[in-house]
Assembly symmetry: C2
Amino acid sequence: MSETVDVLICGGGSAGLSAGVWLARCGVSFKILEKRDGALETGQADGVQCRTVEIFESFGLAETLLKEAYHAMEIAFWAPVTDDSGRGIRRTNYTADTEPGLSHLPHVLLSQARINELLTIEMERVAGRPCVEYSCEVQGLEVDSESAKDSNAYPVTVKALKDGAEKSYRAKYVLGSDGAHSVIRKSLGFKMIGDSSDAVWGVMDIYPRTNFPDIRKKAVINSEAGNLMIIPREGDFLARFYIELEDVVAKDVTLEELHTQARLIFQPYSLEVAETVWWSAYAIGQRLADHFHKDYRVFLSGDACHTHSPKAGQGMNVSLQDGYNIGWKLATVLRGQAGPELLETYVSERQKIAAELIEFDRNWTKFFSSTYRQEHGITPEDVQKQFALAGRYTAGQAIHYEDSIIVDARMSQPGIATGLTVGMRFPSAQVIRLADARAIQLVQALTTDSRWHVVAFAGNVSSENLVPLQDLSLRLGKVVDAFTPVDVDRDTIINPILVLSSKRTEVEQNWIPDTFTPVVSKWKIKSLFKVFVDDEGYNAAHGHAYEKYGVDPKRGALVIVRPDQ
Amino acid sequence: MSETVDVLICGGGSAGLSAGVWLARCGVSFKILEKRDGALETGQADGVQCRTVEIFESFGLAETLLKEAYHAMEIAFWAPVTDDSGRGIRRTNYTADTEPGLSHLPHVLLSQARINELLTIEMERVAGRPCVEYSCEVQGLEVDSESAKDSNAYPVTVKALKDGAEKSYRAKYVLGSDGAHSVIRKSLGFKMIGDSSDAVWGVMDIYPRTNFPDIRKKAVINSEAGNLMIIPREGDFLARFYIELEDVVAKDVTLEELHTQARLIFQPYSLEVAETVWWSAYAIGQRLADHFHKDYRVFLSGDACHTHSPKAGQGMNVSLQDGYNIGWKLATVLRGQAGPELLETYVSERQKIAAELIEFDRNWTKFFSSTYRQEHGITPEDVQKQFALAGRYTAGQAIHYEDSIIVDARMSQPGIATGLTVGMRFPSAQVIRLADARAIQLVQALTTDSRWHVVAFAGNVSSENLVPLQDLSLRLGKVVDAFTPVDVDRDTIINPILVLSSKRTEVEQNWIPDTFTPVVSKWKIKSLFKVFVDDEGYNAAHGHAYEKYGVDPKRGALVIVRPDQ
């Protein structure tokens, strides 16, 4: 007897969980199968780049993440001493960890176990039920390509072992997020293309006793004894060390070797390890799956389709963003609000990102390798420059989707909002909400529930000049009504947002036309929360949103923002 | 058979819970008796003034509170139309709800049920056990005044009914936070002094459908038809209305009357009530207990010793602050770190505050009464002015404790830190943490665990001029060591904080002397989290902390901050 579910997610890691949160928010029937017998307890990844923190914000989880995590503000670069003594290391420079202004949220570090826990709690809170089947190991899957043409069919069958007993699931869609050794991928006969390099890195989470001054900063140390990167962790004392190891095989590395190597690199600073919480050693490889989907019914995500080094802190982030990309699309198709061709954009968008990631990581890893640097005459200053160049990429803010059925750069007019790029995420700016005078980040008005957002920058309004705004409301209202069933709130499908450049106290609430104040909720009350002004607030400096988005208040702009921003 | 506990808290409201959180944090044996059969579901109070939000921050609970609550930014004042039409109301002015700069945290509104829940969850999380005995009704108490002289005795006996069965508790200390009809107070024979005025107010939490433009702002409406105050609530639609009622008896008021009166006052704006969640009507009275303690073993707090109108949003706040005042004192005495005379300061400090509150409320209530205003020729503009004057008080920032064994204004030198007042709370300023370059609020470094904090403003340091800082460290270190047992971390009793006026990048970590980098934790690692600079950060503007505290960097200052800030 098969269990039937609309979306079956195989693997409860970052990719599966972020898709799960979306599906729960959209009320879609789904289940996650996970072979572990419970939640993750320690995790390899820990870097949460700005873009991922933005995603957490969109899920309403940023407060806890920001509270618990280490905030990376600065990177310290250390190089071999070049003076007469010729021994030890010296700090060459500090740089910002993240280019100021790149995001309204910081780059943070927190154990992946805790990150997954936050996602799981939120997913199950919203769904109102347990969503993860633990101790459930996927054995293989089959797709009936014929019935896959029927959008109402359940063409995918997944076999799994739950506590030794065989189980069978039938699903409309399957997300293969079951890691680097993906059974889903292998079942489909897809291959990982790429290589495993010789460079071996050791990693350990330790409680260090040291007089090294930058122990609570991200620090990149190039010394004569080797390379080491410090990534401080949540709490006051824990830190992660990445250490380059030469002429070794990963599986032969011992913890003692890592300790010794770290002490050598740290000289003249002292280092005692009070406790080692977790450690590992691995050879770096960059590999990419040759296919990302089967009949657009089974999709790979996360490590199941791209593996790479953890050096740039990308792994968990790109995986989580895979899930963030597909979650709302599956929900939209399952609700009948879009045809199945929407799912093709998951493949085209994320395959490109994965390929870029592999390429980036290949270059990035070289810069960390002492051998490569010596061979190519690369100086510590070059490494530092490379860090700065890569900053935007590693923050997750360089993701750029090509034109498709849901990205249309060709028909857009970039000149009217020069601060935005069609195909890239909508950045935030602080604005003041008209109804309650509160300063908020504009992206917080873009609720994460598969709605599309239309942000209207309508310039300055005054009592003598309300006609253009009323005209905009009328025309936008027609579009909204064309997509919205009559028996639901008017902002259910399209969420209209109005940003004015007027002074806050010079705008009257009753000037705002009805497209921007729809009657909503079971109480049928006008929503006053979609109208903002670009002005200063009581306890908030001016956000300069028009300037940030590059919109001329005299000309205005209309920006369409996807559910995933 | 009596149950024995160090501190017995009678009443699980705001006062009892905030004391409970303190006691849990300090590891003190305590229990709360509550006659309700479970957590509060709706609550009368909802205003959380800035000072209370600061207390939530000190308990690590501000994130959730700020996320869920309505933020009060602005007050709209409305008065009768004075032009020829002579009908309806018009807006006269807007003012800031809270004087900008008064606190780094805002004034917010959230259901008392949720506020109590946040405190309960935190208390039980820290204590690692349930702390509240529900369905347990206190019947009376006795104090053995003779044994009360012995600090190790359990001189207080409390009788209670738990599910009909008699229970008996023996405690070293009892906190009577059992509300306006306090059994503890009555058992001790204490009386409430004061009066119940004739003014009757109705209050209702409603979902309003209206075209009144300031429905999502705090609004004070004086109309010919009466007075109404709007307090928006958490979520997008709920609002609380306070309505003045004339010539009525509180118990005869009906919900229909409140709706009708609100509609009359709203004219010419429409008002439909989609749903009423909660409502009540009451006569305002201001009353104060004649005694606040018995043998300094039983203490009254909250409504048990002061009752007043809810108009200025003070009730829950002052109660919660009562608990915040006594919690750490009980813990300090029970640990033997101070003599029992410390508890006398609870009475002297909070009795003064309660008396001021009663006096403030008496005046405040008059301003809300139409009759009083007519009789005394008070205009809407006068009301508005009074609001501004009272702002600091209602924000909870006007609390000023007199000299006692723990407040010493006479020996202090106010001139060296002109932004501070001895006996008032230590305000926050943004500073940059040296170790990780992160911008944080200085009060967040003052951990809430009954430690005393010494904040040293040591001015500018440079490699040529380290002697004064080393000298300070030496001298302060001697004081710290005099109070600290040798077998605990050096910052267990006194928490030394260093704030420099130097540029961040011009200070080296290894210049910081050991009093400010104590070796702590089970790993015996140097703490690098007590040193700050008054500088700008990567994503943070300059905090101007020295300017804010009025400290001359050339002169410096040493500020001693109580555990309750």
